[in-house]
Symmetry: C2
Subunit: 704 residues, 2 copies
């Protein structure tokens, strides 16, 4: 971007003076950070760090997203948009972009992490392209790869990889979204003909919202309850042709077009239903469950529950790529809004003639810079997540525990980053005013497309509840061997910890003293260990608290136990969110250790502090109620955040430039420098007018 | 709606048992509310109360919004949508819908409040229709009416009223959005020809985002700086033809189409610029400023600042109608989401066969019911706002103070309700899962259209800052006659009040005792006076706090004073928000006094408590830090909110039904009863299967 967007040097010079003198004396950079001159950010090296583990793949993918023919065009009709995206998918198939995830013996690269990294970057071009590619290769193809066996790979994958066979991923039903285990579609084995009979027993069991189902799909991976010999073995996946060579539904298959959606209209989502459709027995994708010719069922995983979660676990990559794409979209939005905020001028404040650059307003900074800090945290957390994913799928680190951790990570990070993207796109759009509402400036379109990321691949609230259950399990495991007395004591201690007049966390007492000045408290808040302690303690205490309340649940009748659990559902989900935020904070903190340039490290540390203390500020009441922070220290949190923001503000442009998007990615006229040109022209006009002596006098002045 | 949607009686019966027994013994309806049986809501009488002062007008307007030909169709191209909306505008002109605001001698009704009430209801049909109508009659026509004089009324209004002359409201410029005082367009009087010369001196002074400018507009009311005899008299409005009978721009006029937007694509927004365009002197809309043939300027308002704000004040109706339309859209969204949540079933919790209705999940209730409480508060606050507006514009209560209050009310309420609409539409859409993302179910389209409500007719943050400045002025006026010692003493007292170990508010100490049980604290939180005290105290203390910090500003150099103000901008805006929330709470509380049916009053009181305590919970850290609530009481706030939600839940359907929207307004298949049909069909299927003895056994069971 450096070549097309000029740095806002003028406004940058004036900015440091906006920190009130009183505050700089108290807690200025010298006193707090041991830095004698204002730090500078090394945009190039920071940019490399942000690209992460698969930097080269991302750079290549960004070249692809920069191609006009791969990009979305606002205002296309749904039909035109679908056609365009299908054509772009062919480009991906032809240029080998899609091969990375597939087996080497079929021409692939067995590069799971790199594959996701490459697909995520397509969100810049058009989210419909990212998601339609995800449907074809990340869901439909991946299901054949991970749930099928060699015979399926050899038979189906080549045509899937080269897009000869576009396919739907037929899991979700109208009646069941995130509760996949309860789907109604059945696959009943008929030993007479050696076939499965696929059937949709009622309207709620129609498959719905399936990409490729309305128009392009020739086949589908279908999820149905496998029934053989009178036993329901739960959800399994089947390969199923759905359309003939003329694009007509095969006998027994029916469907509808979902029509217009809130976004992603380049994808032909639709519904499918089946009236006793017969498929050969070998179409069962039989890696985790098989049926012999006589109808005998077998599985390498004896527990139906664990089998189900293992099968679904192979499809975690959808959540991985949503996390990455949502984070990239947030970065793009902030690049647009911060660049514009550095050029746009509104209202005169301190000067009689010059208007302020809007990013110099405190409120504007408060709106954008904390979201920038979160986006950084998510960028680093996502790279760690992708490494974990790659470890599991490459087999490098693929224990049961690894898979469970990966699942939990996905269920924790995807909700936060997808919500953050919607929030950031909206705040960025509002921060750009009416210009932000113009389709040409990208923000509204991206927001519309990303809206559904919050509920697909698992509803965000349902995913966070999964995380909470995992945390509860870990918690009870911790006490599995403890006698009831130990547990009771623990609960009592927790209760004591919650008393508002309690002394709070010991480490806090060590680091801060009541007699300390605000500045000294502020100093302590910069401490990495203290931030970790505050964030960790909250997660643990919340989980312990709910665990205590749920302790008797196992002894209750099922209905009462469910009611008890439900009465604490909101707390549980909030605990899961706190856990996910902690994971992001830890990732940001690890990234700091890898940052070598001192100036960059300083600015990133402020940004990490802003993220960490922002989490504390958001939950300040909890810290106060549970005696973790005194009221005085709680006030210091907000005061320090204000200072951090003022300190980070001069580096805001560098921090978004480091994301590395060019004008070909931004494609937002308001972030192209045009606003600066207009402002300069206007200021030049008035300066000339004043110099000419022909400027009209002001009415007020003329009355004197 | 009652005729098409069955009441969820089944789930309603089971719901009351979801309140844990422990809590009902403690603080059940009997103990707390003196009600011995669960209350019922009288939906019809509540519905009448919600319709407010202009109930008849609203009922008529709703008939219009229920007409298919007046409604938007998702998926139209921009060109088709524009044509459709223009046609709908003609219907409004022809049926007299638009006449209410205009003078009786021109065939109008001089009914200002009713006019706005009627237009707001059009948001149900299509927000593009509401806003395009608002541009034509509420901005373009209203500017001629309020800024022009009789000669302008007689000459222009008839053609504006009947849509012979569609017009643009040319105020906003590319370079200046909410800062209207700084626009660059000039109108220089030329006594030689008795004309004004309209000129756009640079690109940033192009008028932008103007409805009717891209295509339909034949004329415009243009805002420009009036310059005569070498003096700039500030912004004034002019009537200006822009296109000829063939739709071509007149000489000297140019423009561009804004093209596709994030929503409201039925409106032809565009840009205009002027190259020394000459218009007769009488085209100056001269109610608040006039120029004689020799170029002498005069105005009934001597202060240029007050004159500017008076002129802009006449255009407050835009903000009034956005507040109402945003509130109506929130009500519509919640009607859809709550109706669906009462029918949709997901996951089995307490039962082995039946899945739960999703609104029975605590998290789901937490997502929707507090937003319902806010929507009720806004509905009542909006009606009061409209009465105030009507008082000023009818002349019934039109003092300077009334106008200032109206301005402040508009600047306070419009930001909150427009943001709330976006938040509520989004939460409702997510609460409906994938179905919520389908355009057919309305939520995504409404959200896209209402997005810009947050920044047009005044950017929400800028408006809140106006409110804050008014609060600061009131505060300083309060102390204008006090000697410096009194002020200092006040500030000291404020500071004392803020100490976290302080005793807090006296009334609080009276109502709650530290020894009291949680239940007793909870009882106190229901108290109307206590809620008022908590909410009022926060606004006053926040303003006093900032006022104290800014006290020295007048003695500082302008730049330093601006920096000092800027360092507290965020706090100021938060104080303004707190003030606006208090206004909403007061309106809700006043409405309770007018509710006669005891059951309805009981449920509405819970809802008001949920709104009030929700505000306290949101700012709990503030109450803790400033010693207004002890930690123990702060915890009671959240506990009581949980109980309120469980208690309101059985009435949720009644509370949305009372908004009175029919299926013709909702037009969302998921809220039509179709979901219940599907759920019933599925449950029936499984019940029959179990009864038949042919149901497959579960794998787990079969292994035993």
């Amino acid at each position: 971007m450096a070549d097309t967007i000029q740095r806002p040097t003028t406004s940058r010079t004036t900015r440091s003076s906006t920190i009130p003198a009183e505050e700089t004396t108290n807690t200025g950079p010298v006193a707090l950070d041991g830095v004698t001159t204002p730090p500078t950010v090394d945009v190039a090296s920071l940019g490399r760090q942000l690209l992460g583990t698969w930097a080269d793949v991302r750079i290549e993918a960004r070249k692809l997203s920069a191609r006009p023919d791969m990009q979305g065009i606002p205002g296309l009709s749904m039909a035109e948009h679908r056609t365009r995206v299908f054509g772009q998918l062919k480009v991906l198939a032809d240029n080998g972009h899609v091969l990375r995830a597939f087996p080497t013996h079929l021409g692939g690269k067995d590069d799971h992490g790199g594959n996701i990294a490459g697909f995520e970057e397509l969100v810049m071009a058009d989210p419909s392209l990212q998601i339609k590619g995800g449907v074809q290769w990340g869901l439909f193809g991946a299901a054949v790869l991970h749930l099928g066996t060699t015979k399926h790979h050899d038979k189906y994958l080549p045509d899937i990889m080269n897009l000869t066979v576009p396919g739907a991923f037929a899991m979700t039903e109208i009646g069941h979204g995130s509760d996949v285990a309860s789907i109604g579609t059945t696959a009943t084995f008929d030993p007479e003909t050696d076939e499965f009979v696929i059937n949709t027993p009622f309207r709620a069991a129609w498959k719905d919202y399936l990409g490729n189902a309305a128009k392009d799909g020739i086949a589908a991976v279908l999820f149905a309850k496998l029934i053989t010999q009178g036993v329901n073995h739960g959800v399994h996946a089947f390969y199923l042709p759905i359309r003939d060579e003329n694009g007509e539904f095969l006998p027994g298959v029916g469907g509808e077009d979902d029509g217009l959606k809130g976004g992603l209209n380049g994808i032909d989502n639709g519904r499918l239903h089946f009236d006793h459709v017969r498929i050969p027995r070998e179409n069962l994708l039989n890696r985790y469950g098989d049926v012999t010719a006589d109808g005998t069922y077998s599985s390498p995983i004896s527990s139906p529950g664990r089998r189900f979660f293992t099968m679904l676990g192979t499809l975690v990559q959808g959540r991985v790529s949503l996390d990455g794409a949502a984070t990239a979209a947030s970065a793009l939005a902030l690049t647009i809004a911060i660049t514009y905020g550095n050029q746009r001028r509104q209202f005169t404040a301190g000067s009689p003639t010059d208007e302020e650059v809007i990013l110099d307003y405190q409120r504007h900074q408060r709106r954008l810079l904390p979201r920038l800090a979160t986006t950084y945290a998510q960028t680093f957390a996502h790279d760690d997540f992708l490494v974990k994913f790659d470890g599991v799928f490459s087999g490098k680190a693929d224990t049961d525990a690894d898979r469970q951790d990966l699942e939990t990570l996905a269920a924790a990070l995807k909700p936060l980053s997808t919500w953050h993207a919607l929030d950031t796109l909206q705040e960025s759009r509002e921060a750009c005013g009416g210009a932000g509402f113009m389709a040409a400036n990208r923000l509204v379109g991206l927001r519309a497309d990303l809206d559904v990321y919050a509920t697909f691949e698992g509803d965000n609230n349902v995913l966070l509840q999964l995380v909470a259950k995992r945390l509860l399990t870990d918690y009870s495991r911790k006490f599995a061997k403890a006698d009831p007395g130990a547990l009771a004591l623990f609960v009592v201690q927790q209760a004591a910890g919650r008393a508002y007049h309690g002394s709070g966390l010991r480490s806090l007492a060590q680091l801060m003293t009541d007699r300390g000045s605000t500045a000294r408290s502020v100093g302590a808040l910069r401490d990495t260990d203290l931030q970790r302690e505050l964030l960790t303690d909250r997660v643990e205490a919340m989980i312990a608290d709910v665990a205590g309340k749920l302790r008797g649940a196992t002894k209750l009748p099922k209905k009462d136990a469910a009611d008890l659990f439900n009465a604490h559902q909101n707390e549980l989900i909030e605990a899961a969110r706190a856990h996910a935020e902690l994971l992001q904070w830890e990732a940001f903190t690890r990234a700091l250790e890898k940052t070598e340039d001192p100036g960059t490290k300083q600015v990133l540390t402020w940004l990490r502090d802003l993220f960490g203390l922002g989490l504390v500020e958001k939950n300040l009441a909890w810290y106060l109620i549970h005696g973790r922070l005194s009221a005085k220290r709680a006030q210091a949190v907000t005061a320090y955040i204000d200072r951090l923001i003022a300190r980070i503000r001069p580096h805001a442009q560098d921090l978004v430039d480091a994301f590395g998007y060019t004008q070909d990615h931004l494609r937002a006229p308001i972030a192209s420098g045009i606003e600066r040109e207009r402002q300069d022209e206007a200021r030049g006009y008035y300066a000339d007018l004043r110099a000419s002596g022909n400027a009209p006098r002001e009415e007020k002045a003329s009355k004197k």
